[in-house]
């Protein structure tokens, strides 16, 4: 089955083209192809997955050379690289993508661009799978850019609204800034190791063939791409705005799959990162800062999707920080569990918004009675996110906390930083989760009863919710501590790590429960919320409301100057300098033409021609006097001519 692994990204990419060309003519407007393709990929993925975990020591790699360049036999290849990490990612991406596509048949019903939506979903899935399956950095980069493109297209799906296209642009440009570093990282590695092949690079690095300084640079640059794609500080600003896209898109791309591409990249290139402690420290610190910051922001959002967006940033930071402290398996395990419950939460939000036609929590309330299935699955997902035993989030989050503690105890001060940040974030996570549930499903209904009649969503939407809730419950059991840790068998770097710590698990559960309680009590009682605005912590509240002024900084510091003075300067240069050159060239050509015309063409050439004519006329005028009409003159001419002829003959003979 592994020999057919290359089909996994091919099916969705093929379906992209088929939907683009034939989608509109099909009876269901193209989603048949999309769902069929992803189902096929899922089947192949499951086959590959089971085959891989049966031989979890082996990695499988095949490739073909795409093109050669330069001297010295350098080449770019296309290939597949299957190990535990890739196999797990296949299953996650294909399953979530399939669920999202089924969900979208109902959510996006009667949408203005239904077919194109499915085409973009297929494009995204194909690119993501290509990214995962890649055995070399160039192919990974292609997949990376592909998912960025698909994200842009899907965020701006309803581009009739200016805000949506602006959000898409913001996402694309922000990740682009990270991509610059990413590409430079690729170049550094190529220059140092002589190849783009990841396995090759890893082996060269492991053998000590690359200098420490170079490795640090390469790792830091690669991580720039991860910062952009996985929305870490300072490039996290795009993810909340990306919620402008359709909710299933947010579920697929900005929760479960695309944003984890950055984490996946670091995990893939862990050989390089592991050899550079400085880079790992940077990774850990950024992760730690981000996780706390984002969790704080999630606490004050009114838009429920933005709560989930910041939650995603925070959870991604968990994964990033885990990699930073060496907890490789824990990080990937968290990718696995997070995908299920975050997708569940987003799709649940979609279901709620379908009922109340709004994402604003101040317009919801008391929905648990009208939407029981949504409510139940949503609670399961939220508690998994908060990390409550025995749901999935508990196991993976505690693995990370344990890993941080382990590193801290081993003497790393960064490890302590990460450990404390992780504990604080667990608390905050539970708090905002409770707030979210309280505002949405409990309390007095705050929506307008005249126009809004909430009801449970159709089966196509609740079905995926139920399945995901099931996964949110059981997926954690793959990572049970000790001998039962199947996941660690499949996905590890070097030795199996032992991150789970019972005492720590107890501490984190305590934090989670207290966070839940705090969140519940504070936000169940609305009047407390109002007081917050006037309390001594008001400045803090404002700081959170303004998102730590990140957006203001970027907008006023970067965007505004560029769009204002710099743009004006560029325009001035263009008009005065460049256009002047061109206009001057044009005027010079014109005057040259005029000069040539007046100086050369008219007098000389036309003069020559006219002169010939005038000359002929003048000659005729001069010669006409010979035409005397007098016959005797003509006869005289005759005789003179004869005499001349005779004379010539005489002389010659």
């Amino acid at each position: 089955m592994r020999a057919y692994a290359w089909l996994i990204p091919v099916f969705p990419l093929l379906s992209f083209f088929l939907i683009v060309f034939f989608g509109k003519r099909l009876p269901r407007k193209g989603h048949e192809i999309g769902i069929l393709a992803i189902a096929a990929s899922l089947l192949v993925s499951l086959g590959v997955f089971f085959q891989q975990i049966a031989h979890s020591e082996q990695t499988y790699e095949r490739s073909v050379t795409w093109f050669r360049f330069g001297e010295g036999g350098r080449f770019v290849e296309l290939g597949v690289h299957i190990d535990g990490l890739a196999a797990v990612m296949f299953v996650v991406v294909c399953t979530v993508s399939l669920l999202v596509q089924i969900y979208s048949t109902e959510y996006m019903r009667d949408d203005v661009r239904y077919t194109w939506y499915y085409a973009c979903l297929s494009l995204f899935t194909g690119s993501m799978l290509n990214l995962v399956i890649a055995n070399n950095l160039i192919q990974l980069l292609i997949g990376w850019e592909g998912v960025g493109l698909a994200s842009y297209l899907l965020i701006g799906h309803w581009h009739e609204e200016r805000a949506n296209s602006n959000a898409a642009m913001k996402a694309f440009i922000t990740t682009r800034i990270g991509d610059v570093g990413f590409m430079f990282g690729i170049f550094v590695l190529f220059w140092a190791a002589g190849s783009f092949n990841i396995a090759h690079i890893t082996s060269v690095v492991a053998a000590g063939g690359v200098a420490r300084g170079t490795l640090t640079w390469a790792a830091v640059l690669l991580f720039c791409g991860a910062i952009g794609k996985s929305a870490q500080v300072p490039l996290q600003v795009w993810l909340p705005d990306a919620m402008a896209g359709p909710t299933p898109v947010s579920a697929l791309i900005h929760a479960a799959t695309m944003v984890v591409a950055g984490v996946y990249l670091v995990a893939r290139m862990y050989g390089v990162f592991n050899a550079s402690p400085a880079a790992l420290n940077e990774v850990a610190i950024i992760g730690a800062i981000t996780m706390v910051m984002a969790a704080g922001l999630a606490l004050v959002q009114d838009d429920i999707k933005k709560v989930l967006a910041y939650s995603t940033i925070s959870q991604l930071a968990y994964m990033v920080a885990a990699l930073g402290v060496g907890a490789y398996t824990a990080s990937v395990f968290h990718i696995w569990t997070h995908a299920w419950f975050k997708a569940l939460l987003f799709l649940g939000v979609g279901s709620v918004s379908h009922a109340v036609h709004s994402f604003s929590m101040s317009k919801m309330g008391g929905l648990r009675k009208q939407m029981p299935t949504t409510f139940k699955t949503y609670v399961i997902g939220s508690l998994a996110l908060a990390g409550l035993f025995p749901l999935a989030g508990f196991w993976s989050k505690d693995d990370i906390i344990g890993g941080a503690y382990h590193a801290a105890r081993a003497g790393s001060s960064v490890g302590w930083f990460v450990f404390l940040a992780a504990l604080a974030t667990a608390f905050l996570t539970a708090a905002y989760v409770a707030r979210m549930i309280a505002l949405t499903f409990y309390g007095k209904p705050k929506y307008d009863p005249e126009h809004v009649h909430p009801h449970e969503s159709p089966k196509a939407m609740t079905g995926p919710l139920v399945f995901l809730a099931f996964m949110a419950i059981v997926s954690g059991f793959l990572g049970l501590p000790g001998k039962l840790n199947l996941f660690a068998d499949w996905v590890r770097f070097g030795e199996v790590e032992h991150s789970f710590n019972l005492a720590l698990a107890g501490v984190s559960t305590l934090l989670a429960v207290s966070g839940l309680y705090l969140g519940w009590t504070i936000f169940r009682m609305n009047k407390v919320r109002i007081d917050l605005a006037r309390s001594p912590l008001a400045w803090f509240y404002t700081l959170l409301q303004r998102r730590y002024y990140f957006d203001d900084l970027y907008f006023n510091g970067i965007v505004h100057p560029i769009s204002g003075p710099i743009a004006r300067a560029a325009y001035w240069t263009n008009q005065k300098v460049l256009d002047a050159v061109i206009n001057f060239a044009g005027a010079a050509a014109v005057s040259l033409g005029k000069g040539l015309y007046n100086g050369v063409d008219q007098p000389i050439i036309d003069g020559a021609v006219n002169g010939l004519a005038t000359g002929a006329g003048a000659a005729g005028n001069g010669l006409k006097f010979w035409q005397t009409g007098n016959v005797q003159i003509y006869a005289a001419g005759l005789f003179v001519g004869i005499a001349v002829f005779v004379g010539v003959f005489l002389i010659r003979s």
């Binding site: 006409k624 035409q627 005397t628 009409g629 007098n630 005797q632 006869a635 005289a636 005789f639």
Partner: protein, 101 residues
């Protein structure tokens, strides 16, 4: 007798004929001058016949033909002169020069 003076005579006659053709104003006089030229040619022919008697009589035969042609040409020429006179009431060569610039 030497033949050269005869030939000089004929060339003189010829030149006189040329002068007459070119210089005379009356068309009929021009025709007369043409006759003079033709006679000069005839003298030549006959003298050459004397020189070439053993070979053929071409000289005299040719002289006969020249006379014939001269007569024919004179007839036509006079017809033209009369025609001009009928149209222009003049036979002065100077005055029939319409085909000029």
């Amino acid at each position: 007798m030497p033949v050269a003076p005869v030939l000089v005579l004929s060339s003189f006659l010829f030149s006189v004929g040329i002068y007459g053709v070119l210089a005379r104003r009356n068309a009929v006089l021009v025709l007369m001058s043409i006759e003079v030229m033709l006679n000069a040619v005839n003298i030549n022919l006959v003298v050459f016949n004397l020189l070439l008697r053993s070979i053929s009589y071409i000289g005299q035969v040719f002289a006969l033909f020249v006379i014939t042609i001269a007569a024919a040409e004179l007839g036509v020429g006079l017809a033209i002169v009369i025609l001009i006179f009928r149209n222009r009431a003049t036979v002065s060569i100077d005055e029939v020069s319409l085909m000029k610039w």
